[in-house]
């Protein structure tokens, strides 16, 4: 869409968008360029002021996040379940190690006590059968009974 450009409207564009006509709204850009080309001296003061401001703003340095901020932003994101599992897996296994140690100590004490405890005899065949069904070695008790 081509619009008729007036001096007043062109000054508004310069004051808002700066000295570069390529920054003007697309619908008015061509008309603005045409008027600027036709009578540049009429807008010299506005263009100069706008250009100074453009240079000033264009010279502003970029703001870049520090590595620490970037890391914090990434860390603040939720993690996938698999990653949560691997994080858990990486934790020290002290509870499991403790349980295993307790079991080992219990077995050692139990075996030591069993060796010193008086051995009873199981003469009853029903008892023998029950013990055998429970997985105990009944040959010892059977031999003792003989």
């Amino acid at each position: 869409m081509t619009q008729t450009m007036t001096d007043a409207r062109l000054i508004e564009l310069i004051e808002a968008w700066g000295a570069d006509a390529n920054a003007y709204p697309e619908s008015e850009r061509d008309a603005a360029k045409a008027l600027l080309a036709e009578a540049p001296e009429r807008f010299a003061a506005e263009l100069k002021a706008a250009r100074d401001m453009d240079v000033l703003l264009g010279g502003m340095p970029e703001v870049m996040p520090s590595a620490a901020l970037t890391a914090a932003l990434i860390d603040s994101a939720p993690r996938a379940r698999a990653e949560r599992r691997s994080w858990f897996a990486a934790m020290p296994r002290w509870p499991a190690i403790g349980a295993l140690a307790s079991l080992a100590i219990g077995l050692a004490i139990g075996l030591g006590t069993a060796q010193t405890a008086p051995t009873g005899t199981t003469e009853d065949p029903v008892d023998t059968l029950v013990y055998a069904a429970l997985g105990f070695d009944t040959t010892y008790t059977q031999e003792a009974a003989q």
Partner: protein, 180 residues
Amino acid sequence: MAFSSDLDQITRAAAGERQAVSALVNRYSPAVLALATRMLGDRGEAEDVTQETFIRAWKALPDWEPRAKFSTWLHRVALNLCYDRLRKRREATMAEPPEQVDMALRPDDALDQAERVKAVEAAIAALPERQAAALTLCALQDHSQAEAADIMEISVEALESLLARARRALRAVLMERSEA
């Protein structure tokens, strides 16, 4: 295309994929931080706003609707957080006036570049918040007119008006300081 690429990364980031999360952070955090820095004139506060913006983004990702543009949404969140902080500053009873920095607008002035940058930053941060936002989005960042207007939830005509007033006010402030 950036939009479909965004969508793909958003989907993967929502699933917790670190590579996608990093890509979103690397792509958008500089612009969000820059916007907050220009608006607030304080790097520490700007970093806080950036963190809060991304925390909100991570929460929003699982329910993300493709019709919204992630970049626009992210900038809008950051901008609203900046507005909140500026509002709180105004409400603070013990507020002190901002530091006055000498400034010359003329490019050939001997003013040190670092001082010039500092002065312009201070002058932008001292503008009315919507003018500062318009100026930052349009003149300091590479947003199109439509995108900047969308972020600010205003029309392009309203954006143009804010921008003209911002440039005029900035020029007046800087000229006044250079003449003082």
